[in-house]
């Protein structure tokens, strides 16, 4: 029983149009009309503020994982003072289980470029940076081509559409660090420094890139801006869950028959996503667990999933989060100990090493997990792992320590019997 009418949903981010990544195909399908209207239609869009208000009322919850209202974030930018202001677009999607932005880069780069331009105008930004993870070499090249095409078409650059608004657009390649997807360390990386997250406050809106006001948005978030401008905030709010509205890119991976990225309304029931959208479990196996939004979101047992939908409220009830909506589906054959070890390995590898609890804690977690995985663990190690997670949580500059600690905490508590079965039996007889 579905509460969401997803079967009749028409995709807007990655619609089924051939060669949409080419600028003329995109423009033939109404592309860049919103951008033109924002700049030239003075009746509808009287000033940048009107764009901010429209986006704010659409309640686009940031699609990068934190879920903050994008328009509200824009309104934190201080008034323009004539100096440079920046929009940094976060395309460094590196979290295991998350692979949605690449679909936008690949199939519809111009909807993102248009959204970024609208956002830039709304915040009176002078330069846009799009930070793409280094492993996406092909998409970096595609993005560069798409941006060049837009430049050639007079959509970016000096005095766009004859107005006095000018903006520059740059692509910046990451160098293989997960931490550079954290917004402040992305700024450090853009400045050419080591990707160490910054201490907040000051927040990027006050002091961002090179000490200037900066807003950081996810690629998908900015792509939605285009739809909001074209179709209106009310249309956007009418799609999907009420408190987390709009279309959502679901990246479904794991033991399903048809893994992939699906654009559907938010608030999809998880079981419908698995069984109908993704074609059901592979080889007819039984569902065991789901990680709903990338590896840092706590894993959920199959028996918890009845009626759970993909929106922040419903997921909070079962003790997890929406994250990036990159779902990892696991069948009954999955070894949760191996799975958790692999996640701890990832965070150990990716911790930037700035804060003590994360630098040494992630390594400790992995090493103890390896011991348990190899059958050399003891029951006390499980309690140690849980203790280490409390020692790490909330004590670091950025959220990577939390992201590393949550999966450990929740996988052990939700699948404790499996972990205990892998541990050595105590040699001491219990009286």
């Amino acid at each position: 029983m579905s509460t969401v009418d997803w079967k009749n949903y028409e995709p807007v981010l990655i619609p089924n149009i051939k060669d949409l990544h080419k600028i003329d195909v995109y423009r033939k399908n109404g592309g860049y009309e919103g951008w033109k209207a924002v700049l030239t239609d003075n009746e509808k869009w009287s000033d940048p503020k009107s764009v901010v208000n429209e986006v704010k009322s659409a309640n686009i919850r940031g699609r990068g994982g934190a879920g903050f209202n994008a328009g509200l974030k824009w309104s934190f930018m201080p008034p323009a003072d004539g100096g440079p202001r920046y929009l940094a677009c976060n395309g460094d999607e590196s979290e295991p289980g998350t692979f949605k932005d690449r679909k936008i880069f690949e199939y519809n780069p111009h909807i993102f470029i248009e959204g970024a331009l609208i956002a830039a105008y709304a915040m009176e930004v002078t330069s846009i940076y799009v930070y793409i993870r280094g492993e996406y070499k092909a998409y970096i090249d595609m993005m560069e081509k798409a941006i060049q095409d837009a430049y050639d078409a007079g959509l970016i650059g000096k005095n766009i559409f004859g107005t006095d608004y000018s903006v520059e657009f740059y692509v910046h390649s990451g160098a293989g660090a997960y931490i550079c997807g954290e917004e402040t360390s992305m700024l450090e990386s853009l400045e050419g420094k080591r990707g160490y997250p910054r201490v907040k406050p000051p927040f990027p809106a006050q002091k961002g890139l090179w000490g200037r006001p900066t807003t950081i948005n996810n690629i998908e978030t900015l792509s939605h801006v285009t739809s909001v401008i074209n179709k209106g905030a009310d249309w956007f709010k009418s799609v999907g869950a009420e408190n987390h509205p709009g279309p959502l890119l679901y990246g479904i991976s794991g033991h399903v028959n048809r893994p992939g990225v699906y654009e559907l309304p938010s608030g999809m029931p998880i079981l419908e996503l698995i069984n109908e959208v993704a074609g059901g479990m592979r080889n007819g196996k039984k569902l065991k667990a789901v990680i709903p939004g990338g590896s840092s979101t706590p894993v959920v047992r199959a028996d918890q999933l009845d009626g759970v939908t993909m929106d922040s409220d419903s997921l909070r009830e079962v003790g997890t989060m929406l994250g990036t909506a990159g779902m990892v589906v696991m069948d009954e054959d999955t070894d949760m100990v191996d799975m958790l070890w692999r996640i701890t390995h990832f965070y150990h590898h990716e911790s930037c090493g700035q804060c003590t609890p994360c630098r040494d804690g992630t390594g400790w977690l992995e090493k103890v997990m390896l011991k348990i995985k190899n059958g050399e663990g003891e029951i006390k190690d499980l309690d140690l792992l849980l203790d280490i997670t409390t020692m790490m949580e909330g004590r670091t500059i950025c959220a990577l320590a939390d992201a590393a600690a949550w999966p450990v905490r929740h996988t052990i508590t939700r699948f404790r019997d499996e972990f205990e079965a892998r541990c050595k039996k105590s040699v001491h007889a219990v009286a």
Partner: protein, 575 residues
């Protein structure tokens, strides 16, 4: 006055203040590693976590909201805050490890994390004894470790530069060294390399850490990761005496500490003085300890035929008196020294005025291009301004050569005029040269009589730096004639107090047979039948200077100690 409550105690404060610094200034304690008062606060060690709250104010009236007991309602930050980068605000309530168990637990946890990959090789680590990690682990750390798996291994004994060696395993990644090269010396030579628990400080590939201030990173390193190539494995800190002193390798007057053991100065570290050198000193000044230990003149030397032979003190004093007796007063040349203290130069000038000789001259020691606008100066002598303020005539090399050639007897206070090229050694051959010096040099080798005097490490004396600031040294090592336990200027270390003469670190070898210059003058004048010179210490001389030489009015050792130096010359003289 805005107020802040720390562990229930009320304090008033002024201006923008970092919470951690404020807590320290009030004599309270919160453990920390990465914070340094002169560097930025990156808040990365997470050791100084405290619980912070703000009182809730009524939006309309601006009054504090009160609970039913009449206490202010406090809104606590959801997470513990690092006190190093938290700015104090009015009404802030802070709970440290003294009053909050969660804070105590958080600090213990951080230390447990730091220690899991730390090699715990304190018994062979140079930092042991002065190691913040060691001290804070004893105070705030866990009882043991629950870490039963393998530690991370990283490079050891990495020669980062000519003077600094890195042990990456000991490093706790506080980034103080990196921030030092970024913010203080501005050479940007260090960075952190690699990621997570594998990271450690390094230079760019193929580059050397040859910063002129590189050894400061060793001082500020809170563990034994960065060690001095020179001092490594030389001594344990608790076996040394730490004596305040002044850098004599240039005219900046950098405040330093001399670390001595068995009357050898083993290392020099900077001492905090906000008005002069802050926490820092150039690497060059740290080499000066060789001058105090090596190549010292012990016992007077007299020229006989070709070479110099050791002579008795009595013979030396008698020789000086004899030489001065038969010569006309204008044929005596007294040369003061910018390398000697105010007290020594004053003794020379008093000697001249009582015996009717010309006022001493001096030649300043300038090496063009040495200055870097920070702590290095072109003037490489510590006391040129002191000589000027005493009224000495500053002469050029040519003038000095001329007057040296025409003099019959020359009294030369500790200045190596030959080696530094002010005069040629042949100029000295026409006269009887009496050199009062600390070290063997070409100048002393060409003197007819060499009388060894104490160096800055052996006496209390003052120096006027390039900015007209007078500061003084303390005796750090004993001579043949002094005794640490009898001299109230000298401090006693652990070994002095608890060691015995039979301990293997006690030898007599390192005591130099030399006397303070004022004692030498006392003896010479006694030999000449004068009774004007009875000075026993630098303190007495300074008291006389302050009452007789105008610029030094009001200067005393007590005042210098209290105010860490006194500015006596307002406008800067051109050097």
């Amino acid at each position: 006055m805005p107020e802040v409550f720390i562990d229930g105690k009320r304090f008033e404060y002024d201006g923008d203040q970092r919470l951690l610094q404020f807590i320290q200034d009030k004599g309270l304690e919160v453990p920390f590693f990465c914070y340094h008062p002169s560097l930025s606060a990156p808040a990365n060690c997470r050791q100084c976590l405290v619980k912070v709250g703000q009182p809730v104010k009524d939006r309309e009236t601006g009054e504090y909201e009160l609970d039913e007991d009449g206490n202010r309602v406090i809104r606590w930050f959801p997470k513990l805050q690092t006190s190093c980068n938290t700015m104090i605000s009015d009404g802030m309530v802070v709970h440290t490890q003294e009053t909050d168990d969660l804070v105590k637990r958080a600090q213990k946890d951080t230390l447990e994390f730091i220690l899991i990959n730390h090699p715990l090789d304190c018994p062979i680590c140079d930092q042991a004894g002065e190691c913040p990690l060691q001290i804070q682990t004893y105070k705030y750390g866990p009882e043991g470790s629950r870490f039963e798996v393998k530690k991370v291994h990283k490079p050891k004994r990495v020669q980062l530069g000519p003077r600094v060696i890195l042990d990456a395993e000991r490093c706790i990644n506080c980034t103080r060294c990196v921030r030092f090269t970024d913010e203080i010396s501005e050479t940007h030579q260090l960075t952190i390399t690699s990621r997570g628990d594998k990271n450690y400080p390094a230079t760019a590939p193929g580059m050397e850490f040859d910063d002129a201030y590189s050894l400061n990173t060793v001082d500020i390193c809170p563990v034994g990761a960065l060690t001095s190539a020179d001092f490594r494995f030389r001594a344990r800190v608790w076996e040394m005496n730490q004596t305040p002193s002044i850098d004599i390798t240039n005219s900046k007057g950098t405040n330093i500490d001399l670390w001595t053991r068995d009357n050898l100065v083993l290392r020099i570290t900077p001492r905090f003085n906000e008005a002069v050198n802050n926490h820092w000193m150039p690497d060059e000044g740290r080499e000066a300890y060789h001058l105090f230990n090596e190549n010292r003149i012990s016992k007077p030397l007299q020229k006989l035929d070709e070479g110099q032979t050791k002579s008795s003190w009595n013979n030396a004093f008698a020789t000086v008196a004899e030489q001065l007796e038969d010569v006309s007063k204008d044929d005596v040349l007294l040369i003061g020294s910018s390398h000697a203290s105010v007290e020594e130069n004053y003794m020379l000038s008093k000697f001249a005025s009582i015996l009717g000789y010309n006022t001493p001259v001096f030649s300043s020691h300038i090496e063009e291009g040495k200055s870097d606008g920070f702590l290095l100066t072109d003037d490489v002598a510590p006391n040129a301004n002191g000589c000027r303020l005493l009224g000495f005539k500053e002469v050029s090399g040519d003038e000095l050569s001329k007057s040296v050639s025409s003099a019959k007897v020359i009294l030369l206070l500790n200045d190596n005029v030959v080696d530094r090229g002010v005069i040629n050694k042949d100029h000295l051959s026409n006269s009887f040269v009496i050199s009062f010096a600390t070290n063997h040099t070409d100048t002393t080798r060409n003197a007819d009589l060499v009388i060894p005097i104490t160096c800055v490490a052996e006496h209390a004396a003052s120096y006027v730096n390039i900015d007209g600031r007078i500061q003084r040294s303390f005796p750090a090592k004993e001579t043949k004639y002094t005794n640490r336990r009898l001299d109230f200027e000298m401090n006693e270390g652990r070994l002095d107090r608890y060691g015995t003469n039979f301990d293997n670190w006690v030898t007599e070898e390192n005591k130099i047979d030399c006397l303070p210059f004022w004692i030498v003058i006392n003896k010479i004048s006694e030999e000449m039948g004068l009774d004007d010179f009875t000075f026993q210490s630098g303190r007495e001389i300074m008291d006389e200077i302050s009452s007789s030489v105008t610029p030094f009015e009001g200067v005393s050792y007590a005042k210098m100690d209290e105010e860490s130096g006194i500015v006596i010359q307002k406008e800067k003289q051109t050097v």
